[in-house]
């Protein structure tokens, strides 16, 4: 593992020294064990701050639209983060030539909240089934689809995981009402999402006022439902929204469900290729017709 870490530092140093990039975004040690934090390296001598271990969960693609607007930026990225980068390029929020991708092979990352309870003294090299993050259980991207440098080889999952994600409850309306009633409208889910890059989010608009600032259950419903719709066919399922939510709303479930439909019905897999058009920005003649199926 430290091998991979050394290689990341090496590549970052090379890129910074040659002047190829002015900034490298990666993970650094956090202030508490089992936590990492994003670090922004501008000087070659600082590359030692870069770390790699299975608690490097942050999707660093979120910084790219703003930071790589006018200059080339290096970014350390897991395969899922690269799917975000691909989506950003497709949506013209990022130029391919403005990003230097240090791609990592990944065998899944750890859910730090699960780790604390399992009382481990050090971070394991490969996450075990109990500590694996929910979205890593359903993830198929093990190697970077696009990258400038690839580090490591695809790590197999700790074991053959046949873990089923808990199904949603029967009465979904009540389920979501219960979930959204906890929402305090902090918008952390939006801030951490690489897909939420709009300059003015619909929920910050005064006119038209799509949602009010009140933290009531129906306003929260409107916010989350609209956010799910805005991420349809764009969400790559990194699960960052779920991780940062202070009240534990599983917002990614909605997007995951819409993505499954997008894949099955339109053969669209967000983050899989650079050239594709966005799902809702294109159509084909033989598209599924909701008019003939609604009754």
């Amino acid at each position: 593992m430290s091998d991979i870490q050394n290689k990341i530092q090496e590549e970052a140093k090379k890129a910074l020294e040659s002047g190829q990039v002015g900034l490298v975004i990666g993970w650094g040690a956090g202030s508490v064990p089992f936590k990492t934090t994003p670090v922004f390296i501008e000087k070659p001598e600082d590359v030692e701050k870069l770390v790699w271990n299975p608690v490097c969960v942050n999707n660093l693609a979120v910084y790219l639209p703003k930071m790589a607007r006018d200059r080339k930026v290096g970014v350390v990225a897991k395969p899922c983060d690269i799917r975000s980068i691909v989506t950003l390029i497709r949506e013209k929020q990022l130029k391919r030539e403005n990003v230097f991708i240090i791609g990592l092979a990944c065998g899944g990352v750890i859910d730090a909240t699960k780790l604390a309870s399992s009382a481990l003294s050090e971070v394991p090299e490969v996450p075990s089934a109990e500590t694996l993050r929910e979205q890593c259980k359903v993830c198929d991207s093990r190697t970077p689809s696009v990258s400038d440098v690839t580090i490591g080889e695809a790590t197999a999952r700790a074991e053959d995981l046949k873990i089923e994600i808990e199904g949603l409850s029967e009465d979904r309306q009540a389920y979501w009402a219960e979930q959204f009633s906890r929402c305090i409208r902090c918008y952390a889910c939006r801030q951490v999402c690489p897909g939420c890059y709009c300059d003015t989010c619909f929920c910050d608009r005064i006119e038209p006022k799509w949602t009010s600032k009140k933290a009531t259950a129906d306003e929260a419903w409107m916010f989350h439902a609209t956010r799910a719709m805005h991420l349809a066919g764009r969400c790559i399922g990194c699960g960052e929204c779920e991780r940062v939510c202070p009240v534990g709303i599983p917002a990614v479930e909605l997007a995951r469900e819409l993505n499954a439909i997008a894949k099955e019905r339109y053969g669209f897999d967000p983050g899989s290729g650079e050239e594709e058009k966005p799902l809702l920005g294109s159509f084909t003649d033989g598209d599924y017709d909701p008019a003939h199926h609604s009754e």
Binding site: D171, Q173, W176, E178, W221, A228, F283, D287
Partner: protein, 156 residues
């Protein structure tokens, strides 16, 4: 209330029975087809339930999923989106974009647990006034059977 109006109300109640609950329905109609279809239904004096509140949009492609969500948030019992038949769009392809978008909106509503019977998407042309009135009747009956929508914030 004057005596006369009370008598009149009593008389109406006698003739039609107590006022029945009627659903309120939000209909988002394309200006070039279904809105004109609704207009035709009106000018031809075709009867359809007064449950429907019509919002005119320039194209079904303008029917933002947020309109649908907002309708449910504000407590409409049912929402429908009507657009031009495939191939007939005034703007050549707006309804093709709508087709994908509205299909996914319906899926999102399903995922959120809103009964699919409360949402309806259909192609209605400007000449289909009778079809429009039939659709409204049908959808009204369908939503009425489900009863009032208790809102998106309903808990168990």
């Amino acid at each position: 209330m004057s005596e006369e109006t009370t008598k009149l109300e009593e008389k109406t109640e006698q003739s039609t029975g107590p006022k029945e609950w009627q659903p309120s329905i939000l209909a988002i109609l394309c200006n070039w087809c279904s809105y004109a279809g609704a207009d035709l239904a009106g000018s031809a004096r075709m009867q359809y339930p007064e449950t429907v509140r019509i919002v005119r949009v320039p194209c079904s492609g303008r029917a933002d999923p947020m309109f649908v969500l907002k309708g449910f948030q504000k407590g409409f019992d049912g929402v429908m989106v009507l657009g031009c038949h495939p191939g007939d769009c005034h703007y050549a392809k707006g309804n093709y974009y709508a087709r994908r978008r509205i299909a996914l909106t319906a899926d999102l509503l399903k995922a959120l647990g809103i009964p699919p019977e409360r949402f309806h998407f259909e192609w209605v042309s400007a000449s289909e006034g009778n079809r429009f009135s039939a659709l409204i009747k049908e959808f009204t009956a369908q939503v009425k059977a489900l009863g009032p929508f208790e809102g998106v914030a309903r808990k168990r």
